[in-house]
Symmetry: C2
Subunit: 174 residues, 2 copies
């Protein structure tokens, strides 16, 4: 495991829009709009969810920790994307996510966060006190979790088609 570093965290946050673009931009609707079953998300839904995080979650919570008197985070709406993505194409969403992420990274960089800033605290609706560092580390792992999810959702489309190889492709068993 590695220690949190703002520089290395930003490396991961910066690659996500390009990675999702490369991953998804040329795929047919079959890959983009299918999910893993009832109440699960398609790759399209996941990109919408990431957009909502850029708009309402990570930076807003960081601002609360650093600059606001009321340190209580607002709860995050995990289903907002179903409304917000309506009528949009995947290209629209990828573009929107790319712009928002660029703005948010520029903002984080402009803060020149010190070690002291990273230890400052906000209040999570469930967990209670959390630090700026934990919030930023979570942002990184949240991106990675959703990249992993998209790959899994797509792989499962071929769960039957691989035949006996399901034994070796562990992603199909989850």
């Amino acid at each position: 495991m590695q220690k949190f570093s703002i520089h290395k965290a930003l490396e991961v946050l910066e690659q996500t829009p390009d990675t999702l673009n490369s991953f998804l931009k040329d795929l047919s609707d079959n890959w983009i709009f299918f999910n893993e079953g009832e109440e699960t998300w398609s790759p399209f839904d996941v990109v919408g969810h990431l957009i909502h995080g850029e708009k309402t979650d990570w930076i807003q919570r960081l601002n609360k920790i650093l600059f606001e008197d009321d340190k209580h985070f607002l709860p995050f709406d995990r289903f907002a994307q179903f409304e917000n993505s309506k009528g949009k194409s995947l290209q629209d969403l990828l573009h929107e996510f790319t712009i928002l992420r660029e703005e948010n990274i520029a903002l984080v960089k402009s803060l020149n966060l010190s070690e002291n800033d990273l230890e400052k605290k906000g209040i999570h609706p469930e967990f209670g006190e959390v630090t700026a560092k934990q919030l930023l580390a979570t942002w990184v792992t949240h991106d990675l979790g959703h990249i992993s999810q998209i790959a899994r959702v797509m792989a499962k489309q071929y769960k039957k088609e691989v035949g006996p190889w399901t034994a070796y492709i562990s992603i199909l068993k989850t």
Copy 2:
């Protein structure tokens, strides 16, 4: 789930080099060379493993099914990358994978596989008879499984740093 289609399978196989490039090319060694613990693979190891598959596995097995008298597949060496990647940089490996994958896709396209071709069979060392279609579907899910793995391996670097958020980031629990 979707039915296998050679056209849609190729869409996924074609994006993998670009996706891995976007995902990994600008990351520090900390992200690239760390694994999940003993006998697990780093992102660097995974790219080496994908190269070995392009060189010795997918196309060779497809050729056996379609063109050779002896239909028995050779076993795949899952540890060859540790030798083959020695002394190379991640950039070297990404470049090598990109070239090999392009060649292999061009080759598959040149075969103009018919439905009849896709049902032709080879003999897997463990599973016995498998079809060309199952082999190609497995190639697709194998890519996706390793993209997912790379994201997971990286996320776990911050398992401790996210603090209480481990409760929400399910990729950290696997």
